[in-house]
Symmetry: C3
Amino acid sequence: MQRTLGVCYYPEHWPETRWAEDAARMAALGLTFVRIGEFAWSRLEPKRGAYDFDWLRRAIDTLHAAELKVVLGTPTATPPKWLVDEMPDMLPVGADGLVRKFGSRRHYDFSHDGYLEECKRITLALAKAFGTHPGVVAWQTDNEYDCHNTTLSYSPAARSGFQAWLQQKYQSPDALNRAWGNVFWSMEVSDFDEIELPHLTVTEANPAHVMDFRRYASDQVVRFNKAQADIIRAHSPGRDVIHNFMGRTLAFDHFDVGADLDISSWDSYPLGFLEDRSDQGDAWKQRFARAGDPDFQAFHHDLYRATSKGRWWVMEQQPGPVNWAPHNPAPRDGMVRLWSWEAFAHGAETVSYFRWRQAPFAQEQMHAGLLRPDSSEAEGFDEAARVADELGQLDTVLDEMPDKADVAIVFDYPSGWAWEIQPQGREFDYFRLVFDFYRALRKLGLSVDIIPASAPQLDGYPLVVIPGLFTWSENLVAEIRDCKGQVLIGPRSGSKTSDFAIPDGLPPGLPRDVLDMRVTRIETLRADTPVQVTETGTFQFWREFLETGSDAETILSADDGVPALVNQGNLHYLGGWPDQALMRNVLSNLAKEAGLVTRDLNDGVRLRRHGGHVFALNYGASSFDLAELGWTGTPLLGELVIEPSEVTIMAVSDAGY
Amino acid sequence: MQRTLGVCYYPEHWPETRWAEDAARMAALGLTFVRIGEFAWSRLEPKRGAYDFDWLRRAIDTLHAAELKVVLGTPTATPPKWLVDEMPDMLPVGADGLVRKFGSRRHYDFSHDGYLEECKRITLALAKAFGTHPGVVAWQTDNEYDCHNTTLSYSPAARSGFQAWLQQKYQSPDALNRAWGNVFWSMEVSDFDEIELPHLTVTEANPAHVMDFRRYASDQVVRFNKAQADIIRAHSPGRDVIHNFMGRTLAFDHFDVGADLDISSWDSYPLGFLEDRSDQGDAWKQRFARAGDPDFQAFHHDLYRATSKGRWWVMEQQPGPVNWAPHNPAPRDGMVRLWSWEAFAHGAETVSYFRWRQAPFAQEQMHAGLLRPDSSEAEGFDEAARVADELGQLDTVLDEMPDKADVAIVFDYPSGWAWEIQPQGREFDYFRLVFDFYRALRKLGLSVDIIPASAPQLDGYPLVVIPGLFTWSENLVAEIRDCKGQVLIGPRSGSKTSDFAIPDGLPPGLPRDVLDMRVTRIETLRADTPVQVTETGTFQFWREFLETGSDAETILSADDGVPALVNQGNLHYLGGWPDQALMRNVLSNLAKEAGLVTRDLNDGVRLRRHGGHVFALNYGASSFDLAELGWTGTPLLGELVIEPSEVTIMAVSDAGY
Amino acid sequence: MQRTLGVCYYPEHWPETRWAEDAARMAALGLTFVRIGEFAWSRLEPKRGAYDFDWLRRAIDTLHAAELKVVLGTPTATPPKWLVDEMPDMLPVGADGLVRKFGSRRHYDFSHDGYLEECKRITLALAKAFGTHPGVVAWQTDNEYDCHNTTLSYSPAARSGFQAWLQQKYQSPDALNRAWGNVFWSMEVSDFDEIELPHLTVTEANPAHVMDFRRYASDQVVRFNKAQADIIRAHSPGRDVIHNFMGRTLAFDHFDVGADLDISSWDSYPLGFLEDRSDQGDAWKQRFARAGDPDFQAFHHDLYRATSKGRWWVMEQQPGPVNWAPHNPAPRDGMVRLWSWEAFAHGAETVSYFRWRQAPFAQEQMHAGLLRPDSSEAEGFDEAARVADELGQLDTVLDEMPDKADVAIVFDYPSGWAWEIQPQGREFDYFRLVFDFYRALRKLGLSVDIIPASAPQLDGYPLVVIPGLFTWSENLVAEIRDCKGQVLIGPRSGSKTSDFAIPDGLPPGLPRDVLDMRVTRIETLRADTPVQVTETGTFQFWREFLETGSDAETILSADDGVPALVNQGNLHYLGGWPDQALMRNVLSNLAKEAGLVTRDLNDGVRLRRHGGHVFALNYGASSFDLAELGWTGTPLLGELVIEPSEVTIMAVSDAGY
């Protein structure tokens, strides 16, 4: 398929006289898609019912005339003031019990039925008006669900919604009391309307209570998105429904939302995410301050490739310095191009830059665009132009979907909620744990698919990794049984029932014929008290005491004699959170057993296999000779000696696979 | 007397069919006491007035049949939902003005008269039902007063209660205005109902105002406890009334509550307390991560031995990893036994483990028990069994109460409130100051008694230490006059009147014939700017400028010439917060003058003299030969070379006393 | 003119019998002024309308009889309880939406019209009663506006006041929508009463919205102060109206408030400010813990000399340890005298110590006075006496106003608001930036005037520095055009329009004939990723990408080739935040071009030229020989070899100017 570029554009921010010129410049740059409209409610409906769609039609017409394809956003992330004043109880309530006010964005409560109806109304009006416009080829629902931590709200609407959801799930208060273990601390209820939202308690609330609230809150996001998707599909046939997800956002189940989308997309801000959402220390942040974490984007590319069954975009690609991180450096020259290619290497259909022209006003005035506020070309413009040019040259080469990767990582949003509710040790974070495994695999040169725990298909993967999974589904246990590849489980996987209790026979709760081992005790560790496992590696943060039965074999032990890695057939259980050294030790051995070719990459260079080609990308500050990996021949793009910020594409046959 | 073991048990958490087997295993393990019932209100009274005590009677019968003795808890720490819904204003209010909600525990306001009546009602019903049951030998009132910082509440009930309390104390607004110095900043009131609670002020409230609020709040805890104790005593003759205190909890006056108890007990979690409540730096926490602070438990043993005149228990002893600290490591093998013996060394009647079986559900599911959730024996089970066995062998040896210790430390809860209200320097914390002295004394091998400032009896102590005392009582000044031992006062002692004002003649406010010296100025110091006092020692955090009269002599001066240690007769005044080196210097000299034998212990080994025996305990990671201290002969328990986590008991005569 | 000393006194805190003796001791000490009354509302009006001014009259009479001059404070910083209870909505509301309560001070909302009327009423009553009393020579309005961050309040009164203010400013909602860029995120309003206060939003509010709120809030302080000043002027002819400002307080525009005063004063607490309000690291704080930052006081002296056109005082001078910083050390001997002389070196008319006698009660009981609570003389007393003595000797010498300084720094409160609203990088703080320039100039031995951006007069300055200015006024651009001296602009100066938008032609927004250069991109930097500019210097925190036109020349470039310092005529633009090394490099070159004599001072020694004399002050811990600077001859005060904490005054001719 054709890989394309796009851009985000706000016609309502600029004089209409500039639109045609903007469109012409976009087309000349080689852009295909333009996303518009997603924050424009106050212009689309200045007063209740007084729709003003003409300007939007003219904007779409203008873009269409320039042969640009429009992705039209529903404006529901920014309800206008008149609407909020009509129904002030639609505003979200923080965990502190305080109502959040109008004045920025995402000021709505997913549980509020009245607001949901309003969203359906405006979506319907837009879908009817533009659903069959030839220039409109796709829709974006809302914008960045959960941005600014907006999934959870503690409003009266959330409380009554949660009560109804619980009634549906448990049918009787007694069933709920039993499931949650409410006999503990006399927390029993006799009616669903007694259930409170789990906040402002004297000490921690019951984890089972919080877990159900997290499930409920995720379901409200799904409901909200589906309501819009259904209307769009009914009135805009043949157009793709897209949402733009965020990085390191686990508050709702993206697989569930993604199931109602045609295309998952996400907003990729490598420098902002490194500064703001990385667990790495200052040395790492300093080192990659202008390049971004070498694995963060790749992880999310792989994740969102999975959430809508393979079709995915980058909807917003950082084009220069942004405005929202603690520090906002300029990207190193070439990085905007590299980030774009990293996305295509992972199978993106489209990379869309945010935004066309830097807005000189309001909250994002310090966020770079492809153009500066004075319409001159910013640094990112040239890099986008180069990518457009290269895409044109490599078009047939890339006309393929990526095939199955080397390794599958099983990923699960509810596990993220569970360990946030009950970290047990300060550093325990599900994303961090999974991402540690992902980084280690990628440093071995392996390509990764993310597999949802809720619908796992492990067949065909030489190596499967399942870290920190909250609880087993029957499906997943069956898949593990059937899996022919090497499977690495743990730490902490299967340590709970779905009711957030310790399983009857102790974790990991697998049938003995699958794994004849149990976790008799766990401990969480200060960063300065790791447990030594091999000469070079340790368990950090989390360690389990494993007791093996006769069918399981201990492969590695900690220095104090406690089993660390246990094996039964093709199944392996790891009883702690490995540091990168132990991680490398364990994963490279398993990869070897799985028949995979591994490489020992430095921190800056990364590979991604994509069908018949391998992409090499250099996030580092020094050049690297790919010949050291055994690469020979002529790259399709770039050079064998890969300079900082450069990209090289090679046929797999020349890359030693 | 016989020293015994116990355990905490929740029959309501388990099928009744398991109770008898549990009881049998407890008895076989060598346990004597079982605490039950303290969180079971929702099972004891599922709806108002619908008491269901039958299950509890069967549980008590079952335990009694196994010859176990029951400590029955009143369930008032966990009011059930129906009760909270009846009187929602019983919920506590935070200093942020926000109401805390149902959903965990301790969700009540000590000032709320309505809730107090409810507590009296359920206590009366239980006392009538079980007060004379032969299996019930003691009662626990409520559970862990102040846990989760629940002493202070800023509710309407607290406000009106406080106003009435002030009216009683001051009789007229003018008297209050004068006592508080309300002329300052025009804070004067003309009626008691004008008094606000001291929170949410623009800047700090008047310290005298806050101090009275702290006294009031402490009194409410006393009132709450006494109401239950009185009912129990009336209806359950001959049974002991116990409460289980916490570690490093100064929010209410434990001496006042303890006066209404027969037995003080406390809940000892060495590893959790080290991680969560220690002033020591990371190196110390790393070093003792699996052993606990070598002095923290001892301090509280000595403290709670004092709060109810000698009779005391450990009600909850950590048996393995817990769930609530930032990190929750597993104890080093042997530490559960060592902690148990440390308690007996300080005179505990009973050490009771928390809990029998790890609950697989709800908030404490990650808290170890003696049994795992699947009823298999956890690591702590074996250590408890060993202690039970050893207690059986040493029974007659331990059949004594500890005699007077070497040193008395005067301790005072109001001083804790005062310096929390007015630290003057960021690090100034009363507990930290007193504990620094305690640790230094213990490192010298000395045994310590804690003496309440409110009822001081200094007679017979060779050495008395009075650090950081808020204000003098006439009693205490008289005791100091009469004391034949060496007395060390300061820093900051007597620096306020009871109205939280600077005394007329400047601190320390003692009569000139007792101490002819005054503090003319104080300063608080950054950690990096200590004041050098001797070649090896410094004042840190807090330093006073002392001016001596003719009757006082300067013993030590700071490098800038300011007197640091002043002497008059057997009284000594220390004008700063000594670091451990200066502390050792000063205390060992005083101990020498007092005729006490001191030793120079390393960080890990600790001694406790108890009647005719000395206990040695090794918290450290390396072995220590007690012969280095001059010990000879055969220990009653353990070896002369004491290994990590080991305990040695020796006759005093063989230990060089 | 005669330079004088004063003191702050609270007759209402002490028995009337002591007043005369206090007055006699003040006079004997050499004090001229006594400030009284500013917190005494509850004594002046114990109940509504029941004025009790007699005691105050007797106090004034007593002071007057001792030939002391009284500065009488209005008591409006401490409204009494009965007044607050009458109108509870006068209480301020925090950004958290919670009402602040009675119980300390400054518990009022500047927007509240009812409270303003009350303040006018009490001011009028006092002005009528004492306005022509011969002992009353000046008035202080309120006390320390903004202390405890009290400028901003989020009350209903503030909301309606803000709406009216916006209506006045913008006249139509459309104009406001355009100015703020409310089309962004659908923030448009259709009526002024829809405008919310900018707090508790889901994410950041529109910076233009916040900026107007900050302007509004500043205006309320001005209104509040002017209301009192007008009444005083009407009823107390010939008396000076003074307010006492704070250190590092930018929340309201002190130039605007100062315009309604005869004399600006400020409250100078060198040790407290170093601990609590310094950006310097621990090493610096440790080093100057007992001396104070060598530049902090000087900066504010220069600032408040500017806010009321030259006449200024220190109203509260730290006399010893204070009570409110994280650590409160005692000043090094001599520092109280040095601080006093630093003020006179910058042209202070009067230095007034806070306070006469340390209060033994209430919030400030740990704040030293000239006397201790027992009326004995504290350390500061002797230092004040020495200053009084020296002033007497040097009186004629100092009888001059300081002439124009070497360098003008343009300072602007709105710039402080702007960069607090939009720091873009965590460390970006306007005060810190300006103060970095100030310190560098002072380390070069230069004397500085602060010039308001709102009324700039640059004429006659050899060197003008304009760092981080939010936006240009026409006046300032005209002044820059006309300026004959060297002008250094940037970083970030002129980067916004007054509507908080990026200027049309990109920053710095100056006409091309003034500066033919634009900033095409900016970046903010982690502290560990500075950009190298010269061999010794770097840009830290903030860096701009400059693009020069043909009329501008690049003087310095960063190592990556980006212009760092650009020159056009006598104008220079600096494209980043220089560290002290680069700062020194750039400023010493410019000073040279400007014909100024610079010196290379160490961290502890500072100079201040004042008319025909130069003051040298030694904040450091080692002595310094002023002969090294070329000083010769006999000082008027002090020695050529200046010891720590010492002051030397020299005729300029002998100091090499």
